[in-house]
């Protein structure tokens, strides 16, 4: 099964044990070409598809929050504080008597927007820096490398806290500061892959045809590193979500009373000690499930597992 021998005979005539390649061909003949849905299934695996489903639910929740949330996330009655989960309040109520389920539904919005901003800004700036460094090489590469080194020296959180201290606490400030903190990590990865691509002979061949560096970088190198950029984005998204939650937890990101998962974990902390676990745990679960699902999908799309083995 696992042997790597090359068979010169056509698949139909092979006798005895099939090689992996022959099995793949047989399967393809039986099931038809690998396209669309089948291709996605092969790529992601069953668990991957479940994760995509979870992410779809999270996104739809964020989009349709007003229609899903049974209560106003901002209004609660002090009389109803710290109610346990019930049919009326699925996840119970918080210290101000607000419905936790409704706040988690609305919180999906802020909790998704922040990391999206981080990931997009980081991907764009990292790609620009990495591709510039790779194309020009030499001194430009060295200079950009040192700039990234300097950024590496600052922990992401410190950078974000610094930005918040200067520009005041807000989701946007925290997100952009985190994006800057994430840039060197992505840039390093993209640079290494792009460098390999840059050194392939077809790139110098295109250069010798008189095609400009901008066109070669945009049309040849960028498409060949897009998998790494995309995978990096999905993985960063999880980190960004956790970091932003931590910033909100510290009171430096999303400001109360805006519903946000990280903020909810933070707010529930005090009541946690009094035995009211609902707010922190449900908000924490929302973070963990989303991050885990995204991380798994990203890993699968990054091709860490061979497509054939996911079946």
């Amino acid at each position: 099964m696992t042997s790597r021998q090359i068979t010169t005979e056509p698949p139909a005539n092979t006798v005895g044990q099939d090689t992996v390649a022959v099995q793949a061909i047989r399967r393809q003949r039986l099931d038809g070409p690998v396209t669309g849905w089948r291709r996605l299934r092969l790529r992601l695996g069953t668990l991957g598809l479940v994760c995509v489903g979870i992410l779809a639910v999270v996104v739809l929740t964020a989009v349709f929050a007003p229609y899903i949330a049974p209560y106003d996330p901002y209004v609660g009655s002090i009389v109803d504080r710290h109610l346990p989960p019930s049919l009326e309040h699925w996840f119970g109520t918080d210290q101000s008597g607000r419905d936790i389920f409704s706040r988690i539904v609305w919180g999906a919005r802020t909790s998704l927007i922040g990391p999206t901003v981080v990931v997009l800004v980081a991907a764009v700036s990292a790609s620009l820096l990495a591709l510039t460094a790779v194309w020009f090489g030499g001194r430009v590469d060295a200079f950009i490398g040192r700039v990234l080194d300097v950024l590496f020296a600052f922990p992401n959180m410190l950078l974000a806290i610094l930005a918040v201290a200067i520009f005041g606490p807000s989701l946007l400030t925290a997100s952009i500061a985190l994006a800057i903190g994430f840039t060197p990590y992505s840039a390093r990865v993209i640079r290494s892959v792009a460098l390999r691509e840059r050194n392939l002979p077809y790139v110098s061949s295109a250069q010798l045809q008189g095609i400009s560096g901008l066109v070669i970088t945009g049309r040849h190198i960028l498409p060949n590193v897009r998998t790494q950029i995309f995978t990096g984005m999905t993985i960063n998204f999880g980190y960004a979500m956790i970091d932003l939650a931590a910033l909100s937890f510290l009171g430096l990101g999303v400001q109360p009373p805006t519903p946000d998962w990280g903020l909810m974990v933070s707010n529930g902390q005090a009541s946690l000690l009094q035995g009211y676990w609902e707010q922190s745990v449900f908000a924490g679960l929302a973070i963990v499930i989303t991050v885990a699902a995204l991380g798994y999908v990203g890993e699968q799309l990054g091709g860490r597992r061979a497509a054939g083995r996911t079946r």
Partner: protein, 276 residues
């Protein structure tokens, strides 16, 4: 049209700073429509000469002398000027055609890009010309080839595509760096025949780098024999074969394997390893 004077190339050892001369003050010139063959053993500086012409000498190398193409100094060209020269005046056909094309783009994109992005021909016109160019290099099922990815085509087919791409810009000077070495023997002949025919049709000048002396003699008007970075002699193929001026050329001619049944065994040229 091409004038190369005292071309030198030296590379410094990054640790010791000691310089090694790779090209030792070579001079040669090329007339319009003439084909010059650079022959010699591996490491004699044939390919390096081409790299100097194209401006892709290894990083940190020091180039001296002058290279003039129709009055333009190639060694002084930089940036946009260099890009224009490469796009309009020079064309390279490299050893391995599989390396010349982006593996994830179709052949059509390769040809169109060469015309549209490098030379500013409108995309639609470039597309229309692509099929025509392929027909000129003897490819009949142009639809299939244009829609193929490089890995789906044979080396010979791909080298024809590269030749078509090189011809698309009507360059002044064609640079062929062992264009047939990576191909099998039967396709070698075809590819050389096409290259030669196209070159004569368009009246292009060419520098043909090879270590196949007989091939060079068949394709080129003059041959330059190189050894250790220096051009030993330049002459017509007949001169080189029958009236070699240097002992090395004589030895190189004797080192050629012959296909006659009664032929003598090849003898290693002076200073050449037997396995080369």
């Amino acid at each position: 049209m091409l004038n190369v004077e005292h071309l030198t190339l030296a590379v410094a050892d990054p640790d010791t700073g000691e310089e090694t001369e790779i090209l030792r003050g070579n001079s040669f010139s090329l007339r319009q429509g003439e084909a010059l063959g650079l022959v010699g053993e591996s490491g004699s500086g044939k390919s390096m000469t081409l790299k100097c012409l194209l401006g892709i000498e290894p990083g940190g190398a020091r180039v001296g002398g002058s290279i003039e193409l129709d009055g333009t100094d190639l060694l002084a060209a930089r940036g946009e000027q260099l890009r224009r020269i490469r796009a309009n005046d020079l064309a390279l056909i490299a050893q391995n055609p599989h390396g010349a094309l982006n593996p994830v783009l179709r052949v059509e994109r390769f040809l169109v890009e060469g015309m549209a992005d490098a030379r500013g021909i409108p995309k639609a016109a470039a597309k229309a010309r692509a099929a025509d160019l392929l027909r000129q290099v003897g490819i009949t099922d142009t639809e299939r080839v244009l829609g193929s990815y490089p890995h789906q085509l044979s080396g010979g087919m791909l080298q024809r595509v590269v030749i078509a791409g090189a011809m698309s810009g009507e360059p002044k000077l064609l640079l062929a760096d062992e264009p047939t070495t990576a191909l099998d023997v039967t396709t070698q002949a075809e590819v050389v025949a096409i290259l030669d025919e196209k070159r004569r049709q368009h009246g292009l000048s060419m520098i043909f780098v090879t270590h196949d002396l007989d091939l060079a003699a068949a394709v080129c008007d003059r041959l330059a024999v190189m050894k250790d970075g220096a051009i030993l002699e330049i002459g017509t193929p007949d001169d080189i074969r029958d009236r070699p001026k240097t002992e090395y050329t004589r030895a190189l001619m004797a080192a050629r394997p012959l296909l006659h049944p009664a032929g003598r065994a090849p003898v290693p040229a002076n200073g050449t390893e037997a396995h080369e």
